[in-house]
Amino acid sequence: MSTVQAREIRVLFFASLREAVETDTLSIDITGPVSLDELLARLKERLPPTAMTALTAENVRLAVNQTLINPPVMVQPGDEVAFLPPVTGG
């Protein structure tokens, strides 16, 4: 990670969540590790309530640095956090 990026978390939204949030990426500035709940509180400052409802729906999964995780989890400056609605391929 470059030092330029290391003070922020990059948050990605895919598919139906991108539509709910009306953006595919947000950057959240942080100075040290934060819990997922703290990250959600920061997102809440920038997103409408309907978007927050979509992001916290039961079937939404989270990936940190492209690996699925189960909360609780701490995220670090430089991490990439993604909100994933239910997937299907094939």
């Binding site: 993604a82 299907t88 094939g90």
Partner: protein, 165 residues
């Protein structure tokens, strides 16, 4: 793979371009090591209908990097269960018309039972675990597609679970 198995060559390709099964098979024959005897393949196509609704376009979206790894993890699990020589998964993304090829799974082994089982296993897990999203457009609008309960049951049947996530 166990230490007794020859290394299985795995390729995963996410692409907007179409694919040609004949070309992929010829490449396999040229590169495949050892005692190749059986190749099972599967092609999934965009269906004309979703339920009773006509489909005009299917849009496929992925998460570059994570999607490839989610498929590699599925193939690795297949390689632990069956003696495979070579596996190729090609998955298209972007807008696709009805009858377009979406996905190609090609599993090579010495024997047909391993090739068939691995191809079916990989397809079942692609439905439930691969990181893609699908949006169907039709005359009555757009909707996001999810894996079905039947898909999750088929996936679960491989490990004896009920497929509940």
């Amino acid at each position: 793979m166990t230490s007794n198995s020859p290394a299985c060559v795995v390729q995963v390709r996410i692409t907007e371009a179409d694919f040609d099964a004949g070309e992929e098979l010829q490449s396999l024959y040229a590169r495949a090591p050892g005692d190749l005897g059986a190749v099972a393949t599967f092609v999934g196509l965009v269906r004309d209908l979703a339920g009773d609704e006509p489909v005009s376009t299917l849009h496929l979206e992925h998460y570059p990097g994570m999607t490839e790894r989610s498929i590699e993890a599925i193939v690795e699990r297949a390689g632990e269960r069956w003696p495979l020589l070579d596996v190729l998964v090609v998955h298209r993304v972007g807008p696709l018309a009805p009858r377009a090829q979406i996905v190609y799974v090609q599993t090579a082994s010495s024997h047909r039972d391993a090739a068939f089982a691995a191809a079916e296993f990989i397809m079942d897990y692609l439905k439930t675990d691969a990181v893609f999203w699908k949006r169907e457009s039709g005359p009555s609008g757009e909707r996001w597609v999810e894996s079905t309960a039947a898909d999750r049951q088929r996936r679960g049947a491989w490990d004896g679970s009920d497929g509940a996530v």
